[in-house]
């Protein structure tokens, strides 16, 4: 039985393109972005619109491979391909695109993408020390100046406060959703939650908040009635699964698992930690904490995974890497060791956006779920 809130989500997504172009006509600027590190509060405070542009589809990879090497992460290729083919309405709507110095592949791809679309690159330091934080705070300040210049709108203290409160509200709702997923049976399927995260990068924030509020009410009802989904409780961790890419969650749920959490940029890395305060520095600090594998010594991520396993009563962890994503792939060794030490079952899955390995992956996941 489909959740009404998810139906609403789909409806809103179906209308989003039209709505976005209307907002543009009204004079609002659109900022494309490729990463969970971009502080959307700044963009919202200038009455502009942030949209996530990461590509999750195979279709645009061949055209990207005219310029990019084949052995590169599919997310990077797909994203570049969308711009080159001009086939993503969100990309085409973007007045400027914010990139960041996260992983090598993305960073170097931006050098090529810059020739196709105006870009602003934020310097995200890979170290996590105080000096690096200082650099990052400066970068967020620079972003503020850029956004003000692009939009012609001044980001006042009051507007920034409103934006911070709004995004924190969104975060709070996602926390509530995770709280509800602790229930057995779990009231919502992983595939629905994944779509929610994917579309949250694209929808108007007010619409996402509306959908989430509805969803939480609906799920509370389900929990009260004891309705939901049984199955081995799976936590997915690793690379983002951006719109267009749902393969692994689909497979897990096809073979008797149910995804109850995702430590990912389409998951906890998107909403965990509130912005505590209303200054640029407070905003910068929240984003600086995101435990992405592109950072050096990212042990907070391991601790997060262990915590989520406990909180969500997880039976097994699926470590998801996109092919050629070195950062998450290498970090997987540490994660695997740490989980095995605690006796938490983990399977590592590496895949791309093609459908050709579906059967093989199914065999693996089926065996894993049967095993745990």
């Amino acid at each position: 039985m489909q959740l009404k809130a998810i139906e609403k989500l789909m409806q809103k997504f179906a209308n989003r393109k039209e709505q976005l172009y209307k907002q543009k006509e009204e004079g609002r600027k659109v900022f494309g972005m490729f990463c969970a590190y971009v502080p959307i509060e700044i963009i919202l405070a200038a009455n502009a619109i942030p949209v996530g542009l990461c590509g999750g589809k195979n279709d645009t990879i061949p055209i990207a491979e005219e310029d990019l090497p084949r052995n590169l992460c599919p997310l990077i290729k797909s994203s570049y391909g969308f711009k080159k083919a001009k086939s993503c309405p969100y990309f085409e709507a973007s007045d400027i695109v914010i990139g960041e110095t996260t992983c090598e592949g993305k960073k170097k791809m931006f050098e090529l993408m810059e020739r196709l679309v105006p870009m602003h690159i934020m310097h995200l330091p890979h170290m996590k020390d105080e000096d690096s934080l200082k650099i990052w705070i400066k970068e967020v300040e620079k972003l503020k100046e850029l956004v003000e210049k692009e939009t012609g709108n001044k980001i006042t203290e009051e507007k920034l406060k409103d934006a911070v409160d709004k995004v924190n509200k969104l975060r709070e709702l996602f926390y509530k959703l995770y709280e509800l997923r602790k229930n057995k049976p779990v009231p919502i399927k992983g595939l629905d939650v994944l779509k929610l995260f994917q579309f949250a990068y694209l929808l108007d924030i007010d619409d996402t908040i509306e959908v989430l509020e509805d969803l939480i009410k609906e799920l509370e009802e389900r929990v009260k009635k004891g309705e939901g989904f049984e199955g081995k409780r799976i936590l997915i961790t690793g690379c983002p699964m951006v719109a267009g890419n749902t393969k692994i969650v689909e497979l897990v749920e096809e073979v008797g698992g149910v995804v109850v959490g995702e430590e990912s940029c389409t998951g906890t890395r998107f909403f965990e930690n509130f912005v505590e305060g209303y200054s640029i520095e407070d905003i910068a600090k929240r984003y600086f904490k995101i435990p992405c594998a592109c950072r050096f010594k990212n042990d907070e991520r391991i601790e997060n995974i262990k915590r989520l396993v406990k909180e969500l009563d997880v039976d097994g962890v699926v470590y998801y890497t996109l092919q050629c994503c070195h950062t998450f792939n290498i970090e997987g060794t540490k994660v695997e060791e740490a989980l095995k030490e605690e006796g938490i079952p983990i399977i590592r899955i590496e895949t791309d956006y093609s459908e050709s390995d579906r059967e093989q992956l199914k065999t693996r996941l089926e065996a894993f779920i049967e095993m745990i």
Binding site: Q360, T363, R364, M371
Partner: protein
């Protein structure tokens, strides 16, 4: 009696069991491309001789058997099967037509960890068959070829390894040396997986385990004996019945 059907990538195995005893079995040289009608016909033939109470399906093509009463994933079946043949086994290496499975199992034959290599044909039966093709060696005479001079095949990718074999041949390297090189490269792919799972008493199953010379080389490298049932190809099928 329970009939197990293991539709593998390359071969189909059938085993009939009664109270944990193997009554009858058969290995057919056609794998996942087998038609369901043919399977059904085979089942009918068996039924004329033996009463079948239940049919269990496993293997790469397990979902094709719509008439099965139960479907069991291969990895799970292999663990059980290994423990049936050797009650002190703690691990399994299965080299089939298109993939290699390395499993760690507990005393009940339950799988506690596993590694599958299914991305590349190198190190699987298919690669071996291809090599035999190029070397013009008949599969049934494979155990006649033996040599202490192991030709070096360095490529980790099946496609490149094939071209390496061709170039070795053109350099007039003896066939048996090249074949040893092929075995060597298959074994070298598996040893790190065995080490990673820290296996001690290893059951070697799947078609490739029928290769005496390869087994000898493998044992030498591991520095221990492998546990190999008389018919290593039916381990998975037997296990499926016992799950």
């Amino acid at each position: 009696m329970i009939l197990g059907i293991d539709v593998g990538s390359t071969t189909t195995k059938m085993v009939l069991m009664e109270d944990d005893r193997i009554v009858w079995y058969k290995v057919k040289d056609i794998g996942v491309v087998i038609e369901e009608d043919i399977l059904l016909k085979m089942v009918k033939e068996i039924e004329q001789k033996y009463p079948i109470d239940k049919i269990i399906a496993t293997g790469y093509g397990r979902h094709k058997i719509s008439f099965a009463d139960k479907v069991v994933p291969e990895v799970i079946a292999l663990g059980k099967g290994a423990r049936y043949f050797f009650n002190d086994a703690d691990g399994v290496v299965d080299i089939g037509g298109q993939d290699t499975k390395v499993l760690k199992i507990n005393k009940d034959g339950k799988v506690v960890d596993f590694i599958l290599s299914d991305k590349c044909a190198a190190g699987t039966g298919k690669f071996l068959e291809k090599a035999l093709d190029i070397l013009k060696i008949n599969k049934n005479e494979i155990n006649k070829y033996k040599s202490d001079n192991i030709a070096k095949i360095s490529s980790m990718c099946a496609v490149f390894a094939e071209s390496e074999i061709i170039s070795l041949l053109s350099k007039k390297i003896p066939k048996e040396d090249i074949l040893m090189g092929v075995y060597d490269s298959i074994i070298n792919r598996i040893i790190p997986m065995v080490n990673k799972l820290k296996l001690q008493n290893i059951v070697f199953s799947g078609g490739v385990a029928k290769n005496k010379v390869l087994v000898e080389m493998f044992e030498k490298k591991l520095n221990k004996k492998l546990l190999i049932p008389e018919e290593p190809q039916i381990v998975c099928c037997v296990g499926a019945i016992l799950v």
